[in-house]
């Protein structure tokens, strides 16, 4: 009994420490005080000033960039990754397949800073002006491997004869693709898309190195620039609260989806 209490207590203490900072930020996003910890009465002014005023403009633009880069890179990674997964799935085991799966693993194992610097050096060497396009390309390069890994297991569990059957029944390969393969892997493609989107909006290091100096900011580089000037400025509190809620929502969706697909497989 005492053992149980100690064990439970340990977990509770750890969870409190893990979540206290986020809770503190969320609570104090509803007051105007400059110094965190001072409570000067309930107010939603910080939330209002987030979306209006001089500060608001640059931040709204950062949010727009984050979302548009997230959606575009997730869409491109999903298409590229799905096509690649179908290809890899149909490759014979051998050098080619090993090479591509090895290369596919690199972006996932590489530390962000190395991925960022390596792409920065590439863009510099080629002479490309860095900005929106280079950030997008960088994000596609580190998101696609995750899409490939999400779609591959679904392909593996698919009955290969169904595709052949469609061809035997007179479907063209592209009809067989759209009417037979895609419907079966659609849900894992969607999971890959959401995963890629989450990774993209969450990224900081790679974006920082590939955004160039034309003034492009995403949310995380915006937060970094702001925090570097003066620590945790009051405006960041509502922003971080909103980001935390967004990540929580996305993760809940991903988890419900994966739980549901497990149930379907049974």
């Amino acid at each position: 009994m005492i053992k149980k209490l100690i064990a439970r207590g340990y977990l509770v203490v750890l969870l409190v420490i893990l979540y206290a900072p986020i809770l503190i930020i969320a609570v104090f996003s509803f007051t105007e005080a400059k110094v965190l910890g001072n409570w000067t009465g309930f107010s939603t002014k910080l939330y209002e000033s987030l979306f209006t005023g001089g500060l608001g403009n640059s931040m709204v633009r950062a949010i727009e960039n984050t979302v548009s880069i997230g959606l575009l890179s997730a869409a491109c990674s999903t298409v590229l990754g799905t096509v690649a997964a179908v290809g890899i799935h149909n490759m014979r085991r051998g050098k080619g397949r090993r090479a591509i799966t090895f290369l596919n693993d690199i972006p996932m194992l590489n530390p962000d800073i190395i991925t960022g610097i390596s792409l920065f050096i590439l863009f510099v060497a080629v002479g490309v002006t860095q900005g929106y396009a280079t950030v997008l390309l960088a994000h596609i390069s580190f998101c696609t491997p995750y899409v490939v890994l999400t779609v591959m297991p679904r392909l593996r569990s698919m009955n290969p004869n169904i595709y052949e059957a469609a061809l035997d029944l007179g479907a063209t390969p592209s009809q067989a693709l759209w009417k037979v393969i895609i419907p079966q892997i659609r849900s894992s493609m969607l999971s890959g898309f959401i995963l890629a989107f989450t990774l993209s909006i969450d990224d900081f290091a790679v974006t920082l190195f590939t955004k160039g100096n034309g003034g492009l900011e995403t949310l995380s580089t915006y937060i970094y620039a702001d925090a570097r000037k003066g620590g945790l400025t009051p405006e960041l509190r509502p922003l971080m609260t909103l980001i935390f809620l967004a990540v929580l929502a996305l993760l809940t969706i991903i988890n419900i989806r994966s739980a549901r697909s497990k149930n379907n497989n049974r």
Partner: protein, 260 residues
């Protein structure tokens, strides 16, 4: 004759070569090139070993990474063990709560630590750095250890108990060795990102402490691409070595496991 579907992998292969393999190769090329003449040189590496400031930052970063990893391990193992025991915890939601922070932006978690220290009126500095690092990476240690403990076949433990082992013997001779693969991957998942972090230490120490990642970033930002690449290559080597050691540890442990 229809197109073989294995050819569908080729566009992605080209993409990987262009945007994954080539950039890494470029780092290596820049690292061995003189900034002015572009000729082959080992000068960038020589400069690193003869710049005490950078060398010290490098050694200090390794020290921070080791301390962080050890602290995470000491805190995470009991937590993972409790989570995996059905007598103490039956809910998957508790496990989820421990894993969830892995998905929140590192920068945001760091600023959350800053918020905590502000709130408690504690000064930022080395204490905040250690706390912040452990806070950031703890979930990455708990998760793999929990996984290995969770998957463990409980009949091993029962067998040990039946054969008269005391609880501490069961733990030291059965549970711990069988969970070593999880420990190793936890160590890798904490050590590798800690050694490569940047921007975090500055925020936690009000620019008093600099880690190696920041040294690299500053050099790249200030246009010292060749020197920066050399430093990045050094970091890659350290990370490569760590993962080799981790793999080695893992296979050794699983071989041992096979003998049981």
């Amino acid at each position: 004759m229809r197109v073989k579907r294995s050819t569908w992998a080729y566009p992605y292969l080209v993409f990987l070569i262009l945007f994954v393999a080539l950039p890494l190769l470029m780092i290596a090329v820049y690292a061995f090139r003189d900034a002015q003449t572009g000729a082959f040189t080992l000068g960038n590496f020589a400069r690193f070993f003869s710049t005490p400031q950078d060398l010290n930052t490098f050694l200090y970063s390794i020290q921070v990474a080791i301390v962080t990893t050890l602290l995470c391990l000491v805190i995470a193992y009991p937590a993972a063990w409790i989570l995996s025991k059905s007598d103490f915890n039956r809910s998957k939601i508790t496990v989820m709560l421990f894993i969830l922070p892995m998905w929140i932006n590192m920068l945001i978690r760091t600023l959350a630590t800053v918020a905590l220290f502000d709130f408690l009126r504690l000064p930022l500095g080395e204490g905040a750095l250690t706390f912040g690092m452990v806070y950031n990476f703890l979930p990455f240690m708990i998760y793999p250890i929990y996984n290995s403990l969770e998957k463990m076949d409980s009949s091993y433990i029962e067998a040990a108990q039946d054969l008269g082992a005391t609880p501490s013997q069961v733990f030291l001779k059965v549970t711990l060795p069988l969970s070593m693969p999880g420990v190793w991957s936890g160590v890798l998942m904490v050590f590798m990102p800690t050694i490569s972090t940047f921007a975090i230490a500055e925020l936690l120490t009000l620019n008093k402490v600099k880690l190696f990642g920041t040294t690299i970033q500053e050099n790249i930002n200030n246009g010292f691409w060749n020197y920066g690449s050399a430093l990045a290559l050094i970091m890659l080597v350290i990370i490569g070595l760590t993962s080799l050691v981790g793999d080695e540890g893992n296979t050794r442990e699983s071989e041992k496991g096979g003998l049981i």
